[in-house]
Symmetry: C2
Subunit: 342 residues, 2 copies
């Protein structure tokens, strides 16, 4: 099986962790989810599941269907931690399900805010690849499901903010230098004027953690997918350049090197570490790797740790519930094993 | 030349850093320092200097005389940091001088609170050795200086708290486990009832730093030197046993190991570190060494660093004034070089 996206380091990987395309779609023969009885939701879930698993395409057998309502809470939270579903999806009431590709690069939420939320994720900065994959699956599903579409408005969605393309393109950026330089707030204000939202790693309302930011297009109406993607691409390219120039400026400073090397020292020696501290230290080490200060750890290792040390995903890895301090001890071990000296 | 006391690890060195005997003496033909004109202070300084340097004993040529009033402030502060003089001695007005043995184990302050304050210091727990050395020099000086002595009161001192033996015996203890267990306050109250004072590393009024405590006898009147020493010895032995038993209890705990290994991680990786943080981390590493958790660093190295990373002593080592952040960078380097992995 392929490595998962978060175990790889992609294009412009020093700054861009991942690229995501999300399409919101609804089945024309059913009312929007908010107006659906649970019977209808069950029928929708079955229809979508059938369309995905029996599409006749080579990709179909690689999907599995997860009955999100009937798995332990820990597994559900881990889906959020791995960015496979939205936080709202696992807490909302009513029948819903998830169709997941084996390498976790494609996830299809059924009965989230819309009937279908198709998400394609890939490592690094690769809007084209993510968009092509999303379009391919979108077309495959449309043939069997008939998505609600208006010639004047485009794809119809429950919330008008998604009307039109129904597309949200986003990139997850690691911006330790811009954060250190305290320019992110100003940056966010400017970006919103350009129709780009900047948020924490878990979407709307989430605070930035460990210098990670999600950048996404906001405009879906009166604009083509291509234009929206080009807009996000050019702004991301500019942000990458700015971040790299700040890194070059900051990396030689002893105060910064002190933070970076201490972070590595802590990751290599702690016997207990909570998730927030670990991610903060991983962020500094990641900066140190891209600045050439740390040479014996690779970005793949850090990317993977960012995801795998989260509470629910960590417990998944050992297949049992753990107390907070048991998790802190396990997390410290997992990290130490991966960042050890050569 | 011999190693200095703070570069060695002595008896019961896991808990006892050093042992000190201090004798307060006054010349019978002069008034106490507080009633001395500066002319008299100069004469006293000359007399004591002559007595020390020209005693005819083999030890005499190993002494040098430091004109404390006329050396740079940094050098003066370093004398305090190395426990060779009291903090009051370097700030007080009026002629004073210091006679110092080459290995820094004997220092004689002239015109401190008394005309002569003879101090013998040695590594580890060794009251007998320190007392014998102090007595030998005391006898040598008494022959030439005629110390003020009353058959009923004993040695006469300016402050009545020193009257009698004029002796203060003290041990410097490293008590990380008792500190961690938060029993030191109670311990201090009990000790004072037994005529033993417990203080920070720099004597009266100083707060404990990095789990270091100075234990000393308070009673000098109506008691022999031997009794005072036996009293301090038996209490110190009990404290050593208690500290070691707490260490055994605490060392297996993951919270403690986390603190210890993180401290080592920080000392091995920091590029900037201030004195207080460094001493705190050194204390934890010292605990870790004695608990058998850290095997590739020895106690001598830690003892030495405790003294050498202090601001003034650090600047002495490079022979120039440094700003606080230059010191922090130098300190981090000095430490890193000494605690590196094998």
């Amino acid at each position: 099986m392929d490595k998962k996206w978060y175990e790889k380091n992609g294009k412009n990987g020093s700054v861009v962790i991942s690229t995501r395309i999300r399409l919101a779609r609804n089945l024309e023969e059913f009312p929007f989810p908010a107006r659906c009885s649970d019977d209808l939701r069950v029928r929708i879930a079955e229809k979508v599941k059938d369309a995905v698993l029996n599409s006749g395409s080579v990709i179909s057998p690689r999907f599995s269907c997860i009955d999100v309502d009937n798995i332990p809470m820990g597994e559900r939270v881990s889906l959020v931690e791995r960015h496979l579903v939205s936080p709202e999806f696992i807490s909302a009431k009513g029948t819903k399900s998830l169709l997941l590709l084996d390498d976790e690069s494609v996830s299809i939420m059924v009965n989230e805010e819309d009937h279908v939320r198709l998400q394609v994720m890939c490592e690094g900065f690769d809007l084209d690849r993510a968009y092509e994959q999303a379009s391919r699956i979108d077309t495959l599903l449309d043939e069997r499901l008939k998505f609600a579409f208006s010639d004047t408005l485009g794809y119809l969605t429950q919330c008008p903010t998604n009307l039109g393309t129904g597309m949200r393109a986003s990139v997850m950026l690691h911006l330790p230098a811009l954060t250190e330089a305290k320019v992110m707030r100003k940056m966010g204000e400017n970006l919103s004027k350009l129709g780009i939202a900047i948020r924490g790693a878990y979407g709307e309302g989430s605070e930035p953690v460990a210098d990670m930011y999600q950048l996404s297009n906001q405009i879906t109406l009166g604009i083509s997918e291509k234009t929206a993607i080009e807009n996000l691409r050019s702004i991301t390219e500019r942000l990458i350049a700015q971040e790299l120039s700040y890194r070059e400026k900051l990396a030689p400073r002893i105060e910064i090197q002190d933070k970076i090397y201490r972070a590595l020292g802590i990751l290599r020696s702690a016997r207990l570490i909570d998730c927030a501290e670990a991610q903060k230290m991983l962020s500094r080490v990641r900066f140190g790797i891209t600045a050439g200060l740390i040479k014996d750890i690779d970005l793949e290792t850090i990317n993977r740790l960012f995801v795998e040390i989260q509470p629910a995903t960590l417990m998944q890895s050992v297949g049992k519930e753990l107390t907070a301090s048991e998790r802190d001890a396990l997390r410290a071990n997992v990290i130490r094993n991966l960042v050890e000296r050569d």
